[in-house]
Subunit: 585 residues, 2 copies
């Protein structure tokens, strides 16, 4: 698969009537979820509700054109909305034009970064985010998102972005709770919780088929929106202090580049890169998981291009940043989406809703949107991941705990940066001390084994070190220090053999270390030899003059020992030739 | 060797008269170099000359007490002086109290960081600096240092820190050249260049022994200082616009903590960490090289503690940051320094000079100090390192070129950060795509080899992938994608065997990838098996429930094939049992 070939050309050519009906049903179900979710995530991002709906039109059309996943449902998602709010909120007050401008540039910059990374096939940088870091980050982000919605559930004002700011602010303002809002929140939350598990069986009990019941149960959101909006309208709850969505401009957004501001763009570069990274990692995981179920394959670089272009589109139509969302993608897949056209149909349905239905959303309570967000993010929380990671590996557990703690207590960008930084440092720490075994000859054989684990023969004049790792800059100095201590502790040493059977790479740092080792050994009157060097490593070493100054180079370790300690080798071969090998030896 | 045990207790107990005489001679030679160099590097750092001399007293005494190298000459060095100037200059105008305060806090913070890193045995973070990055950085820093001294050689004023700033500034101000300064610079430079190679032979021609001639030739600096100072005094050149050192306060500096400023300290944290890193890496390389010549050993963490404490001392006595310097350490070693006491003697001699000799330095020309700096940094320049690194490995060459270019064109901190960042990204890139070979059975044997390189037998129903790298977060996703494409391209696939003979680690990210692979394979109706899993990896995997859901786990790959494709295995064993093995096969 080429990044440059449009996936559309592959699936478009064989598009069938079955594809069409599957895609249309899936699009309808996703649209019903996406209208309230888009508005809810826009609220979470601190943007007007239409920013979420706009993010469900052009970006989806672009992804349908460029993307390779048949099931991925692109659009506004909770974690990216939270990150957008955190970054835009550090620049301007929520609700100001500067805030909205920052959000648009976040979409444009993160889109441009993804696009460039995809075109230059740099998708591997997503590897910076280890599983424990992304998992800890998502859980912490979910907690922050839920905490940020409590004010909408209670109808109070709060300030702050992190737990130490939000929680005292809730406590301080709890007296101002708006009772109609609280009752509405409780009812909607209770209904949504029940509908996740209870709606489908209830519909089946009413006589629906299992498939239809499962599909219709996805409409729980729609019911909550409809009933709560009607309740506000009929009971005049907005006059009693219950906050509602209000006016949404009817019609489609204009296509325009937001105001250009070099300082703003420079400031947003790093946060947007983090948002792009999180958005991409989330999206690709979902796309690959769903593709595997149909034995399809996803091209990561092409996904980057598609998501990048979708976000560029979002920034041009006053929409919030988008990516592939977990819950809607699963619904899309289950509802039978066959091709990326399902996303295009979703976009058209959302556009139709914007042209016709916005007046109906006027009385929709913010509390309902907050309840929708809370129910959605509960699926993000995975509290058992931390003890599991810790039990499996201390390093992974520590990286995850640091990510979660810093995210909750300090902020989302800081948390992610701390996690990435700590994983890199711990990774470096682990690889900086590779396993190096001093080996000796297993008597009577050509095998050489760790002197600490096997009965082997050695001589103090020849020491062989087997390096069980590629040699590159994280561990280059370690070998130097190890050899240094071998020279210092063994004054009888005359020959040092480095056995390279497990060395797959020797980079320039390691080459300099080897040259340093060579020089140190020469100063100390010890000769340096290599054995069992792999082909690619030999090719690399031949590009330097290291081999010319080497005292000895042997194809096998046995060759080395026969040359350097012939008496020893012959003696042990002799001695053991007459012995019967022990069973199991 | 313990970090906590004082090295002094080891060498102090057996201190002999031979040690004393060696240390005293070395101290005298180093002192003669250190007085002009200390003043010159203070000028380079933008500090008063005494800051360099103060940096050669208390820090040296502290290092003598705590350090483990018998030859390392600690004190002001050029690269650290340049980095100090770059950082302090970004805060305050040179010559202001704020500038000097920043320099003192750089010493204190970098000292504290080194101390903490040493006590917590975190010396491995120095591995972040690969050889090509540090080498490129030192060469670029040397060029910047030389460029920054041209104004002193010409007696003009210039501005700027980077080449694109300094060079136009020199060109613009070249008209204001001070001729006495230029003549003085030319003569001193010519003498210093000649004395590096020509002085020792000349002294031997005068009848001195070879050893004494070599030692005395080190006094070239001293001769330049003496003669140029006398010339200024006798000819009254300072009245003709030649700039001189002027008043140096007589006596020792008071011990006092600089004014505390939280914002300043926060700002200096990252630059000071970079300075600490560069200082440490430079120093440890020198110490280890010299220790190897005597078959001694250096404890990196103890060196961090000693250098950290020395810098804390520097910050408390109004001195500039210090580290181990290359040229003086070599001189110290060659002159016969036997123990760290040589450093203590140097400190006492510098202190004596500060008490008695400062009036004699009044007429010392800045031009002489600039010439001393230029001659010293020439030894830092290594222009052939870049083509050598590039020829050896594109990745290393690119990291080095980026470090040099960014340092010269943008700044020292940025250059170092760019180099470190790029090496990490390239390292990640290389390890993110490990070699994975599909293997098949070598007919008639229990050996399994790459299907692309050997004549082996396979069956489409069983695919075995041999992973030639440990599995951790940089490459976790790669294996997932690879398996994904294997599922997609081979519809006959029923069993996938991952051969783990070269896998030394499976971290939590890789474990999640394996679980994801397992889930995807199950969705696609393929069974997952592992073979040849190493002991430590098995121990780790047993901490998760991955093995419980695994379809098969085999000690050897032959066991796996006999279980999964018995007909095939038996057939090939049968078929080849009667064949004669080819020679060399």
């Amino acid at each position: 698969m080429s990044v440059r070939r449009l996936p559309l050309l592959d699936w478009g050519r064989s598009y069938s009537r079955e594809n069409l009906s599957g895609d249309l049903v899936a699009a309808l179900v996703v649209t019903i979820m996406l209208i309230p979710q888009g508005m809810a995530y826009a609220m979470l991002a601190g943007l007007p509700p239409q920013a979420g709906l706009y993010g469900a039109i052009l970006p989806l059309l672009i992804y349908a054109l460029l993307g390779s996943s048949s099931a991925l449902a692109v659009g506004p998602v909770a974690v990216v909305a939270l990150m957008t709010a955190a970054t835009a909120g550090s620049i301007a007050e929520i609700g100001t034009p500067g805030y909205h401008l920052a959000a648009l540039w976040i979409a444009l910059i993160s889109g441009a970064l993804m696009l460039v990374m995809g075109l230059f096939r740099l998708g591997f940088v997503a590897n910076f985010l280890s599983h424990p870091v992304i998992s800890g980050f998502i859980t912490a982000a979910g907690i922050l998102i839920a905490a940020s919605q409590i004010r909408h559930l209670l109808g109070i004002q709060t300030t702050g972005k992190t737990l130490p700011e939000v929680i005292p602010s809730i406590v301080a303002n709890i007296g101002g709770v708006n009772w109609p809002t609280l009752v509405m929140s409780a009812l909607v939350l209770a209904f949504l919780f029940w509908s996740r598990k209870g709606l489908a069986p209830a519909l089946r009990a009413l006589g629906l088929g299992a498939g239809a019941a499962t599909l219709l149960a996805r409409g729980g959101l729609f019911v909550a929106v409809l009933v709560s909006t009607l309740a506000v309208w009929l009971l005049g709850l907005d006059a009693q202090g219950l906050r509602i969505v209000g006016d949404i401009p009817r019609g489609l957004p204009p296509l325009e580049l937001p105001a250009f501001d070099v300082d703003l763009i420079t400031y947003l570069l790093l946060p947007s890169a983090l948002i792009a990274l999180v958005g991409y990692v989330e999206s690709i995981s979902i796309a690959q998981t769903l593709a595997a179920k149909r034995r399809q394959s996803i091209n990561p670089d092409r996904e980057l291009v598609a998501l990048g272009a979708a976000n560029l589109g979002a920034g041009l139509v006053q929409a919030m940043p988008v990516t592939g969302g977990l819950s809607r993608s699963i619904v899309n897949f289950d509802a039978g989406a066959q091709t990326p056209a399902a996303g295009a149909f979703t976009a058209l349905m959302i556009a139709a809703a914007l042209l016709a239905l916005t007046p109906l959303l006027y009385f929709l309570p913010n509390a309902t949107l907050a309840a929708i967000i809370i129910v959605a993010v509960l699926s993000l929380l995975d509290f058992r991941a931390l003890p599991r990671a810790w039990a499996y590996s201390r390093a992974d557990g520590a990286a995850m705990a640091a990510t979660m703690a810093v995210t909750l207590l300090w902020g989302v960008e800081q948390g992610l940066a701390a996690g990435v930084g700590l994983s890199l440092v711990l990774h470096l720490y682990r690889t900086s001390r590779p396993h190096v075994a001093e080996v000796g000859q297993v008597p009577g054989t050509g095998h050489f084994r760790n002197i600490n684990r096997y009965e082997v023969v050695t001589t103090p004049e020849v020491v062989t070190l087997r390096v069980d790792e590629s040699l590159y800059f994280p561990n280059a100095r370690y070998l130097e220090e190890l050899v240094q201590s071998k020279i210092a502790e063994n004054t009888a040493l005359k020959h040092l053999v480095l056995m390279f059977s497990a060395v797959n790479e020797v980079d320039a740092s390691a080459l300099e270390s080897l040259e340093m080792i060579q020089a140190k050994l020469r100063d100390a009157g010890v000769r340096l030899h290599l054995s069992e060097v792999k082909g690619p490593v030999m090719d690399r070493l031949r590009r330097s003059d290291f081999l010319e100054h080497l005292d000895g180079l042997y194809l096998t370790q046995l060759d080395a020992m026969e040359a350097l300690a012939p008496a020893l080798t012959r003696a042990t071969l002799e001695r053991t030739r007459h012995e019967v090998r022990k069973p199991g030896a």
